[in-house]
Symmetry: none
Subunit: 253 residues, 2 copies
């Protein structure tokens, strides 16, 4: 696929950014590398003159930025997301190197919209947010001084995206298309499945919402790893629906 | 050679920087990637509080920075220098890609001190300065918006230096837990799950063994791809069993 088209499919999602200046710096970093889709989840202050100043010639990206209340909303319609995370999270995806992670991201962009997800400057992403992402990445830094700011981290990753998009040979993952393949499920379709499963598990008594334990994060991790296709989501929801009908029918009898 | 030693041999040389804030941003970018030797050729204003502010925890690099009157002085004792240049100069070295140029730089660092040379924010390096360098590099950018600032350009090149010094795999900090994982499920455990699922689907009427279609092969493909763990097989069979209990119970009622 055309490298510029691939780059245009990458959303940069900033979760709860505190400093408008950093939003501007990220917009500038994106635009220098040919990326344009900025999503802001609960920005502390936006729009803001400081963001415009730091963006310099990339104010158009700020003007088109999409502000959402949750990471889930920012990922609607996307098929793959990579989280920037300084540390490994329990149940979270294993943390990889930027170059490898970006190669995977670009490969997924052949199928649809993808996302690079950044956390708040101080506290990063929440564990729950990380579980919305299929992969995680850390930028390798000096162990004695790892203080990359948000703009610099975005610059490095956007640069890697551009390098990967133009690598001449599109990255080929070992899992290619197979005779059965259907298009990748979108984030919201997978969320629909998880919600459906939760309802069934609650109805059967397998899951107690008052004592949730780690069941839901474990299931979310499983679905995150498998990279479901649309067809598979439909099958799994069909199975779930069939158990519901049976249960209701049985109850009446 | 030890990667940290290689990184310690790279000088970052800023020629006639106009804005002290940029000097601070470069110091920070260097330190995050394990580099420490900053040379300033005729800085307009240095030292300066704005430089300290932008450097945050990298003020030590500013304190040890060497200020010189010419690029030649900043290169004394070095064996190789790469110039950042936005355009090809008459008689200047051919302009290459950052990754290739940095690989050469690190190879030369095995022999001695080397340098990455940046020009003034507005006018860049002079033709005469470029001729002090053995190689030249441009960071690839969006042709319609190539406005990388000095700090961002330094961040990208310092990151490439760290990647190259560690042969593409710099260690990432192993903070926190290892990813949650239970042992892989065995073939027979997965078969047990598929059999269980088939029984439930048959009981609910979702699956008709007389008209099987492609449902089972599709499910088998899904389970084959996800590489289930024991814990996950137990969860999924628990869910299936819970729907069975409910159905039976309902039937009796």
């Amino acid at each position: 696929m055309n490298p510029e088209v691939l780059l245009s499919r990458i959303r940069v999602v900033l979760c709860r950014p505190s400093h408008p200046g950093n939003i501007g710096a990220v917009a500038r970093a994106m635009k220098t590398m040919g990326m344009s889709q900025l999503y802001l989840v609960e920005p502390k202050q936006f729009p803001d003159p400081e963001a415009d100043t730091r963006a310099t010639g990339a104010v158009d990206i700020l003007e088109r930025a999409v502000v959402t209340a949750t990471l889930g909303e920012a990922l609607v319609g996307s098929v793959y997301a990579v989280a920037l995370s300084a540390r490994q999270r329990d149940l979270g995806p294993a943390i990889g190197q930027p170059r490898d992670a970006v190669a995977d991201l670009l490969a997924e962009a052949e199928q649809g919209e993808v996302a690079l997800v950044f956390g708040n400057e101080t506290v990063g992403l929440s564990n729950e947010e990380i579980l919305h992402c299929q992969a995680a990445v850390t930028i390798p830094t000096n162990p004695e001084f790892s203080s990359l700011n948000l703009g610099s981290a975005a610059q490095v990753l956007c640069y890697e995206c551009r390098m990967a998009a133009f690598a001449g040979k599109p990255p080929v993952r070992s899992q290619g298309a197979t005779p059965f393949a259907s298009p990748a499920a979108t984030h919201d379709e997978v969320e629909g499945l998880i919600g459906h499963l939760e309802a069934v598990m609650t109805a059967t008594g397998f899951f107690n919402p008052l004592q949730p334990g780690r069941l839901l994060p474990k299931l979310r991790r499983l679905f995150g790893r498998v990279r479901l296709e649309k067809d598979e989501v439909n099958i799994l929801r069909g199975i779930l629906a069939s158990t519901q009908v049976r249960t209701e029918h049985g109850r009446k009898g």
